[in-house]
Symmetry: C2
């Protein structure tokens, strides 16, 4: 029942990590399914700031998400699962 608040700005890494584990994927599995390299997934989950948008979108697409402009300091609510 507990929900987790996360800052959309700072937690793209946490978003990916959470979604990935929700699906029971390893980094390698996610990389293969997204069509990116394993190193990229690791850089993404380690919050490398200079990642290319199209590559990030290839990953987010698997979760039904994509990169878009969101207001700063925006907080979102997300269930622990799904």
């Amino acid at each position: 029942m507990q929900k987790k608040t996360f800052n959309t700005t700072l937690s793209l890494r946490d978003f990916v990590k959470t979604k990935r584990k929700d699906l029971g994927f390893t980094q390698k599995m996610l990389a293969d399914k997204a069509g990116v390299g394993l190193r990229f997934i690791r850089e993404l989950e380690n919050a490398k700031p200079s990642l290319q948008m199209n590559k990030v979108n290839q990953v987010l697409l698997l979760f039904g998400y994509e990169l878009g402009p969101v207001p700063l300091n925006r907080k979102k609510m997300m269930d622990e699962k799904s």
Copy 2:
């Protein structure tokens, strides 16, 4: 009074273009204020898919926005001004 619907997914370019003109900036002014090159602003407003997130965020920051994961097919409402 008319509001414009835009798909967050496809219209990062339109978002930037609209916000820029709302502030009365030229591409060059926006580039200088954001600390990126003029060419980058043009590629951004022309929807180049492989732009680097940190550069895009330097621009969105001026508008009080940033890149974040948004659900696919999400539609947002935005006033013509502000």
